[in-house]
Every structure is written in C-alpha cells, then in structure tokens.
Amino acid sequence: MELYGPIFVLGGIGAAFVVVSMVVGAIAGPKRYNRAKLQAYECGIEPTPQPAGGGRFTIKYYLTAMLFIVFDIEIIFLYPWAVHFDALGVFGLVAMLLFLVNVSIAYAYEWRRGGLEWA
C-alpha cells in the first residue's frame, strides 16, 4: 500500500485543483440569460431534436469496441509472458506463439469479412 498511496495523493491534488477551478469558473463568470445561448450549437440553425436517452449512432463503434476488448485481453496475456520471458523458456515461447496464431486467425477472419472497413 505504501507504493500505491502516493498515486492517490497526486490524483487528489489534481482533483482538488480541478474542482476548485471549476467552482471558481462558475462563480467568477458573468450570468446573462439568453435563450439562444443555451441551445445546442449547430452553426446557427435550429438544433436537431435529440431523442430522449441520447442520440443514435452507427453500429461500427460497437464493433470497434468489441475488437478492442479482444485485442486488449490478448495483450494482457502477452505482458506476463514478456516479463518472465527468460524464465518461461522454450515452452512459454511455443505456447505463446500458438496463442498468437489463434488470435491472428480471428483477426484475419475479421479483416476478410470487412469488420475493419470504415468507408
């Protein structure tokens, strides 16, 4: 815990600064009500009505997020192996190469099916 504590000290100082300056910003600025000023900015036209619960967006972003999870987990497997690379020896290398091949197959499939296209 002695090792992790200082991170939160620094984080706490940062958080205090952020909160204080946002409060100062809210107090120090002028307050002049104007209906147009409170609308969503869309280059001057009437703002598009937004559906309750947020706007809709393309499924591509979900796909990207799923892919991110797959690859991030792969990396989480790679890190311990990389750190103890010398200790794990040939067995570790072969096991990890087999794992990488597996992931690469999934990656190639995804690529071939057009999951990585953005056009």
Binding site: F17, G25, K37, Y107
Partner: protein, 457 residues
C-alpha cells in the same frame, strides 16, 4: 511437474518480481510524498503553460509568422493570460444536457491524466538535506499496466462529455475520439511487449536501468516507431485530430463546453501529451541516463543532479516532435486513420513481437550465431516477400477496379437510357457561368433526336 514444484516455481517468480527492484520505494515519510506530489503537479502545470506557448510560437515560426508576442517578455505569459480569461467567461450549462455527467466529464478526463506522472522516473536516488530518496514519486510492480490504465481512463471523459452534451456534433466527436483512442491503444500496448521482454520487469525504474548500455529505441526500433505514431493518435494530436476536426465537427466532444470546463478538457489533452512523451523517454530513450556518447567522454554525467537535466532534454525533444508533426503533416481522413491503426500498426507489431521473441530465445538458448543469423535473414526474406506479394495483389485489384469503372462510365455515356449520365451535355446552360444561357427559360430546348457526343469526359 508436481503441484509443489509448480508452487515453488510460482513463488520464485513472484519473489523475483517483488523482491529487489522496489526496495527504494515506499519508505518516504508522508511529508516527502506530499512535497514530491506538489512539485510534480506544479511541474506539470508549468509544462502545460510552456507547451501551449511553445506550440503556438514554433507553429508560428514554421508558418513564417511570429506567434503570440504581446503579453510578457516575448509573449511568454500569453497562455497564463488565456487561462485567466477563460475563468472569467460565463459558465454555460446548455438546456437538455445530462447535468451530472456533463459536469463530471471534464473531471474524469483531467484527474487520471495527472496520475501517470507518479511512476515516471525523473532521476536516480539522490541525497537532499540528508534524506536519501529516489526522484520519482513511487513505483509499482505493475507500473507498465498502470500507465496504460491511466491513459485509457481519459476515454471515459471524452465519451461521457460527448454523450451528455445532447448535441450531434458533440456525440459524433466523442464517439470518433473514443474509437480512435482505443484503436491506437492496442498498437501502443503491443509496442511495450518487446520492451518488457528485454527489461524483464514492469517497474519503470527497472526499465530505465535495463537501458543502461543502450536505449531500447535503438535495439527495438520498430516498437519505438509504432509508439511514436500511436502517441500522436492516443492524444488526438495532428495529424490524427479527427475528433475535433474544425471543418467537420466544430469542436468535437467539447463543442458544448465553455469556461473552466472547457479549460479542464484542454488541460487534460496537454497533460496527456506530456505523459505519453515522458513514457517514451522512460521506456525507449533511456530515462534519466546520459546519452551514451556523453558518458564515454565524461564519467560524471550520471552523478548528482545531472540526470534530471538529461531527462528534461530528452523530454523537451519528444515534446518538440509533437509540434513538428503538427506543423508538417496534413490531417488524414477518418477511414485512413482507422486503417492505419487496425491494418498496419497491429500486424506490424504481431510480426515484430514474434520475431523478437524467437531471436531472443535463440540467443538465450545459446544457439550458434549462424543459426540465429539464418533465422533473422529467413524471417526478413519472408516478411519482405509477403509485403511485395501483398502490394502486387492490391495493385492488381485496384487496376481491375479502375478498368471496370472506366468501362461502366463509357457504357453509361453511350447508352441512350442513361441519357449521357453522369456528364451533362456540353451545351446545357449552367449556373455560375458569366455567359448567359442561350435558350429563353420557358421554351424547352429543341430536341435534335440524336444524342450529342460528349467530349472531355
């Protein structure tokens, strides 16, 4: 392997990981920790102000103008004045926003940005006023992971800010930015694998020590190159600043933000830049150690307070790279950005990690240098051959597509049903011409019965 043997082996590994390298950390009295934290915080704030200033000044010089030069000596206080001005702006919360998330987003974005710097080593263990302490706030057995985790936390601020604003521009900007950051994070995390392989530890101080004879940037150059690219992508900097491409999305996810809330996003962006720059110095550029040529001619280069100077110089060099890239490289398209992240950087890293692992294992196992050399050459040949083959296939496919397109266009021009689509007859009246149309408006153009041949299509 029996369970007991496995346990011992596991215990040995654990011991090796937690035993020695962190002995210097975690013994500071609370007031030393506090002083260090405050110093790091102040250093970051000053760095942000200077970085904004340098950004504008260097950009100005690159574009043959002066940049800000009015406030303070050489305009050095300009960003401070901007900060004060921003705090005096009206603090607007637009109608219809999700108030809690709208206010929380800048905080979520800014706070984790500060935290990464606690594991960045700025110098070795030094003695100040009789107190021996490392010039680093703390170090963790998992510092490498912590760095990535803190970098990833910023995405929450972006996506929540875009979502809570209830505005199309902000939503699109937030989604784009988060998709970009997570895409580049994969390549970034992969570029660290080779570093951890060579250092054998995740502690930042251990990684710096492991680069004592030679920098990882030199022996693991592909990792470093990929890291430099992802560094720009991860922080939404030009040429990858699609999230706030002014021409398309106004201000991206910060469109609806103003006053200090906007300032917090801005601050987070710059602190993130400083952080990834400091990480590149730590992981690839030898940290606080003097560059090898200097240590050869001057033995005292790594003693006393000098390491801090080397660290600062390297840090400033990397920061200059950011501005340089911004001044030289044009912004790329969003699909090109995702293509680079997913289809170039990730395969390159997969191949590179495999190559590094195999070669290092050969060296570890004491294989004959000729065998290692043959493997390296064979690997390079296979990679180059597959890249060339790939390029050929792509080019052939593109040529076929282009020929098909030309043929289709020709058929469309010549088939009567299409009416010469997509090229209008050259005689048609058109807007924007200084020559008035010949036909009066109300009489239909005389039909000749025969389509005119369109030229210049």
């Amino acid at each position: 392997m029996t369970p007991t043997a496995l346990e011992t082996a596991g215990g040995g590994l654990l011991l090796a990981a937690t035993d020695d390298p962190l002995a210097a950390f975690g013994h500071d009295p609370w007031w030393v920790t506090l002083i260090k934290s405050v110093v790091i915080f102040v250093f970051l704030m000053v760095c942000v102000l200077m970085m904004i200033m340098a950004d504008r000044k260097v950009m100005g010089r690159m574009q043959m103008r002066h940049g800000p030069n009015r406030f303070g000596p050489w305009g050095l206080l300009q960003s401070l004045a901007d900060g004060v001005k921003l705090s005096l702006k009206e603090d607007i919360i637009p109608r219809g926003v999700d108030r809690t998330l709208y206010i929380a987003a800048p905080m979520i974005s800014a706070v984790p940005a500060f935290m990464t710097f606690s594991v960045i080593p700025i110098g070795p263990e030094v003695e100040i006023f009789g107190l021996v302490t490392p010039l680093q706030l703390t170090d963790l057995p998992v510092a490498g992971l912590m760095v990535l985790a803190a970098a990833a936390m910023g995405v929450y601020g972006i996506v929540i800010g875009g979502w809570a604003s209830r505005s199309p521009y902000a939503l699109l900007g937030g989604l784009r930015a988060s998709a970009q950051v997570i895409s580049y994070e994969i390549a970034m995390a992969m570029s660290f694998v080779a570093v951890f392989m060579y250092s054998g530890t995740l502690t930042t101080s251990g990684i710096v020590e492991a680069q004592q004879p030679i920098w990882f940037a030199l022996i693991l150059f592909p990792s470093f190159a990929v890291y430099l690219v992802t560094m720009l992508g991860e922080t939404n900097r030009l040429p990858f600043d699609l999230a706030e491409g002014e021409g398309e999305l106004v201000g991206g996810f910060m469109t609806e933000y103003g006053s200090m809330k906007y300032t917090m996003f801005f601050l987070a962006e710059y602190v993130n830049m400083l952080t990834v720059g400091a990480i590149s110095v730590t992981f690839f550029l030898g940290g606080y150690h003097a560059p090898p040529p200097i240590t050869m001619v001057w033995e005292g280069a790594n003693e006393g307070a000098w390491p801090v100077l080397w660290w600062l110089l390297k840090f400033m060099g990397v920061m200059f790279l950011f501005i340089w890239a911004r001044g030289t490289v044009p912004r790329i398209r969003y699909d090109q950005l995702m293509l680079l992240g997913w289809k170039v950087l990730i395969p390159v890293q997969l191949v590179w990690i495999t190559a590094v692992a195999v070669v290092r294992m050969l060296v570890n196992e004491g294989a004959h240098p000729a065998v290692t050399g043959a493997v390296v050459v064979g690997f390079s040949v296979v990679v180059v051959a597959s890249i060339i083959g790939w390029n050929r296939a792509v080019r052939r496919q593109r040529a076929a597509e282009a020929a098909e397109h030309t043929e289709e266009m020709r058929r469309m021009r010549e088939t009567a049903e299409y009416g010469g689509f997509p090229v209008p007859p050259a005689s048609a009246p058109h807007y924007g011409s200084s020559v008035p149309a010949e036909e009066p408006r109300n009489t239909p153009p005389a039909s000749t019965g025969k389509r005119e041949e369109v030229t210049g299509a």
